[in-house]
């Protein structure tokens, strides 16, 4: 008789299953052991900053860090919104963004005991703020000149305020009488300045219906190179010219100020405010845990 019928081998299967479970269990234990070394989340500081080409970062680096190197654990984001979003998502995070990006999803810290808001920047008491620029190739003429004038006027500065930035002082009303503009106006550059230019362009077009305006982002560097090559009429920038960009005949116009807010996650109970020195130590990587702040 031959044996072609199957025999049950439950025992061995059971053994195999048990050893698989043991393996899984052991590897889970090992894995979670690894994870434990990470420490408590929310207590470890997660440094968030902007990418190395950002105007905001350059300003922060020069002004707050005194050009000392950031901690190597700084995570880079390539826009203010990304910094804000990451801080909102990450319990232990700290980041720096333009004032306009502060909302209920994040908590802005007091710096040297001064709240981050427009009034305090205007009053000069809030310590971290910088200028916003428009660049043209040679002195501005035609539509570009009028647009910059408009931005610097009371009307334009209202938009600056609306978008959460800090306006210029002592402005005059914009005067359209007798002017007509036509043709095209191309504006490109800094994502920080973009919302202002975007809104201003909309109302500017109402004043000059014959004009076609294009506003595009791309970053300060892109804007500056676009205007120096003549592919844009105006370059927006949240930083001044770098050495490699000088000597190309660019003229700068200041159109407002930006306060830099230091933001943390709303769940963060360790800090309500920081001194500039503490802020620097955090970004240097000298303080790496929120608990160490009080020491």
């Amino acid at each position: 008789m031959i044996t072609i019928y199957q025999q049950k081998e439950k025992q061995k299967a059971g053994m195999m299953i048990i050893s698989i479970i043991v393996i899984l269990a052991l590897s889970t234990i090992w894995f979670s052991g690894c994870v434990q070394q990470q420490g408590q989340s929310g207590e470890a500081i997660v440094l968030i900053g902007r990418d190395s080409t950002s105007g905001t970062r350059e300003f922060f680096w020069t002004y707050v860090m005194g050009k000392a190197n950031f901690s190597a654990s700084l995570l880079e984001k390539n826009s203010n919104g990304a910094v804000q979003q990451t801080v909102a998502q990450t319990p232990g995070a700290i980041g720096y963004v333009g004032l306009g990006y502060v909302d209920s999803t994040v908590k802005a810290l007091k710096i040297n005991n001064i709240s981050a808001n427009v009034q305090n920047v205007l009053a000069g008491t809030y310590p971290i703020s910088r200028d916003l620029y428009m660049f043209t190739k040679g002195n501005a003429t035609g539509p570009a000149k009028e647009f910059i004038l408009y931005l610097q006027s009371t009307e334009g500065q209202a938009i600056v305020t609306q978008e959460g930035f800090v306006p210029l002082q002592n402005t005059a009303h914009y005067n359209t009488s007798g002017k007509t503009l036509s043709g095209t106006l191309t504006i490109s550059g800094s994502t920080t300045v973009l919302p202002i230019a975007d809104k201003a362009a909309t109302s500017f077009k109402i004043l000059y219906p014959g004009l076609t305006i294009t506003v595009t982002g791309g970053g300060s560097g892109a804007g500056i190179s676009a205007v120096s090559q003549g592919t844009a009429d105006i370059g927006m920038s949240s930083r001044d010219l770098q050495t490699s960009e000088q000597g190309k005949g660019l003229v700068k116009y200041i159109i407002g100020k930006d306060g830099i807010a230091i933001i943390v996650n709303p769940q963060n109970t360790y800090a309500e405010g920081l001194t500039l020195a503490q802020l620097k130590s955090i970004y240097l990587g000298d303080i790496t845990n929120w608990k160490d702040l009080s020491k």
Binding site: S52, G218, G221
Partner: protein
């Protein structure tokens, strides 16, 4: 009479020559493109190599181009790129091969009819959609589940890249496994091997070159992927090698992410700008090395399988076996030492005991139980894949469907995209894709016709094919950089529709060449001979006899190209797109595009959650719809292929 005959004969000869030249020109376009890419990368990277020295650039430990002094060390970026790829492959390879085996060998015909095209469809999901999901869901999930400070990490990048690579690897590997001759399987079964023994000892080894090709394809994609890694890996500022090297929760910064982040704002012509081109060059060289290795490995595998290797072996069989064994032993010891250093002695002992136990119990266990275990693991892998991809799709659909409305599709964005619609991006994507296909289709089809109809296999076709392969392996962000250097700056197109269209066209050119060639190959030689026998010239034969039956195949390739172009972000990032409510009226104006719109909303515009998901859904539907058409068309075409 004679004169007329003579004249028309001369005319057609001229035409023949003209057509041939035209096809030849399109064929060498692939080479011209790849050479200009290398040339422009090198030209713009040269200053930094000169200033810093190639070696210092490669092994420098810190990347801090805006520091004082600026530091240009690409080493951590290179290591991170390799690490994230390694992690992705550890996830993707077992799951993909398991799934491929399942589809090819275990699935019932009905299951196969559903799963196979579904997996192919998923290969088309744009990477920015994965990135969007990773940023919103995966990163937060990792942070909470593992209680780590931040979920933006190597692990997040690897998981996401792994999932992205699965459909591609699975479908290519499945093709390879399915095409193992049935005779092999039957031969094995006939000597009393079980199904699992047949699969593991005959089918998979016979398909090994195809499976390897699939894996290499996956590795190439993972190394070159930009958008997804850029969105979830954290990007520590100087580039950071995880410490210890096994710390999967460390944030990392890859070559592609560095390019994606820094290229947009860098001052043109600065050292930093040049250094970024240096990175792109490194990236290109890494993918080049992967490609060359692939060709070598595949060549060897195929040779080993096909020929009877008539050559006398240099070393005897026994000796070769001994060398192999000691090599394995050596590798094993090295791995153990690395593990010892990385995780300490106790876990290593545990692992060794487990392996020994498994080995022992597997030996003891009966063949049938082994088969059961193997089949359960294989079925588990496809279930995991389906769950992974299902979660991603479900998330995007459930979140995005709320935003979807007629208005959303037909109006422009307002309040920086937080409200309003995505009409300009839809139009922008259509413009970009239309231009790209209008440029690449004639070039690609021409090149394929030249390769397949006008030349014999030889040195020329080899070079052209190598060029197309290289182009195919080039990471999309490298196309972006090239487009920026060449079209935007050198040709002074500026950020423009035209620059984006040409860049995308170059990217999809190899796809079109390849699919067209396949379509041409499927036209039987006898048809051509029949036409020549009637006195038709070459071009007449191609136009009247060869192209009509090949048309559906060519169309499929074109549609695949369209799908890819519609979903890509990196190539247009620095050449064409701007985040605005703007529809271009000339080729020299910039555009907005769906993937870029989604990218910007997801990374830069807080409070735009609803529109993010809506945009992701529209993009997903668009691209998947395009792929669906291609797959349906191809399946019909395959059925009609029987002559």
């Amino acid at each position: 009479m004679v004169k007329i005959f003579h004249l028309s004969w001369k005319g057609s000869l001229l035409k023949e020559k003209g057509m041939k030249t035209l096809f030849f020109l399109s064929a060498i376009s692939a080479i011209i493109v790849i050479f200009s890419i290398i040339f422009f990368l090198f030209r713009d990277a040269y200053p930094i190599f000169q200033k810093e020295g190639v070696v210092d650039f490669l092994i420098g430990m810190r990347w801090y181009p805006t520091g004082q002094p600026p530091l240009y060390g690409a080493f951590p970026l290179i290591v991170d790129t390799l690490l994230v790829t390694l992690g992705a492959m550890l996830i993707a390879i077992p799951l993909s091969i398991g799934s491929a085996i399942f589809i090819a060998e275990l699935a019932t015909p009905r299951m196969k009819a559903i799963i196979k095209p579904a997996i192919e469809l998923l290969a088309g999901i744009p990477s920015v959609v994965f990135g969007f999901f990773g940023l919103i869901v995966l990163v937060t999930w990792l942070q909470i589940t593992f209680d780590v400070p931040t979920g933006e990490s190597w692990l997040a990048g690897s998981i996401l890249l792994g999932i992205m690579a699965i459909p591609t690897i699975t479908s290519v590997a499945e093709d390879a496994i399915s095409s193992v001759p049935r005779e092999y399987k039957e031969g094995s079964l006939a000597v009393g091997a079980t199904r699992w023994q047949t699969i593991s000892k005959i089918v998979v080894p016979s398909a090994i070159s195809g499976i390897t090709a699939a894996i290499i394809l996956g590795i190439g994609r993972a190394i070159g992927e930009t958008m997804a890694v850029m969105m979830v890996c954290g990007n520590p500022t100087y580039g950071l090698i995880p410490n210890p090297i096994t710390n999967v929760f460390a944030p990392i910064k890859t070559l592609t992410a560095t390019l994606g982040i820094e290229m947009g704002e860098v001052a043109t012509g600065s050292d930093h700008y040049s250094a970024l081109f240096g990175l792109a060059l490194i990236l290109l060289i890494i993918t080049l090395i992967v490609n060359i290795l692939a060709t070598l490995i595949l060549g060897r595998l195929k040779e080993k399988q096909r020929s009877g290797s008539k050559r006398l072996p240099i070393i005897s069989f026994e000796l070769a076996k001994k060398i192999k064994q000691s090599l394995y032993l050596f590798i094993g010891i090295v791995i153990i030492i690395i593990l010892l250093m990385a995780v300490g002695i106790i876990p290593v002992i545990c692992i060794l005991i487990i392996i020994a136990l498994m080995y022992y119990s597997l030996k003891k266990i009966s063949i049938k139980i082994k088969q059961k275990i193997a089949f359960s693991i294989i079925s588990l892998s496809i279930i995991i894949v389906i769950i992974f991809l299902g979660i991603i799709l479900a998330y995007i659909v459930t979140n995005g469907v709320g935003a979807l409305s007629w208005e959303f599709l037909t109006t422009g964005p307002s309040n920086l995209g937080r409200s309003g619609g995505i009409f300009p991006s839809i139009i922008g994507t259509l413009y970009l894709v239309a231009g790209a296909i209008a440029i690449s289709l004639p070039l690609g089809v021409g090149a394929a016709i030249f390769l397949h109809e006008y030349t014999k296999e030889g040195i020329v076709t080899k070079i052209i094919r190598a060029g197309a392969d290289l182009l195919n392996g080039t990471p999309s962000i490298v196309f972006g950089l090239f487009g920026f250097a060449f079209f935007v700056l050198y040709l002074k197109f500026g950020f423009s529709l035209l620059a984006g269209q040409i860049t995308l066209a170059f990217m999809i050119l190899p796809t079109i060449i390849r699919t067209t060639e396949e379509a041409l190959k499927s036209v039987p030689q006898s048809l051509r001979e029949g036409s020549y026998a009637l006195g038709a010239t070459k071009w007449q034969t191609i136009r009247k006899v060869v192209l009509p039956p090949a048309a559906p195949g060519i169309l499929t390739g074109a549609i695949l190209g369209i799908g890819r172009a519609a979903g890509e972000t990196a190539p247009i990032l620095f050449t064409a797109v701007v985040f605005s409510n703007f529809i271009p009226s000339s080729l020299l104006q910039p555009v907005n595009a769906l993937p870029y719109h989604l990218f910007t909303l997801a990374t830069s515009i807080p409070g735009s959650k609803e529109n993010q998901a809506g945009t992701a859904l529209v993009l997903l539907l668009l691209v998947i719809g395009i792929y669906l058409i291609a797959i349906l068309l191809r399946n019909r075409f395959r059925k009609n292929m029987k002559w």
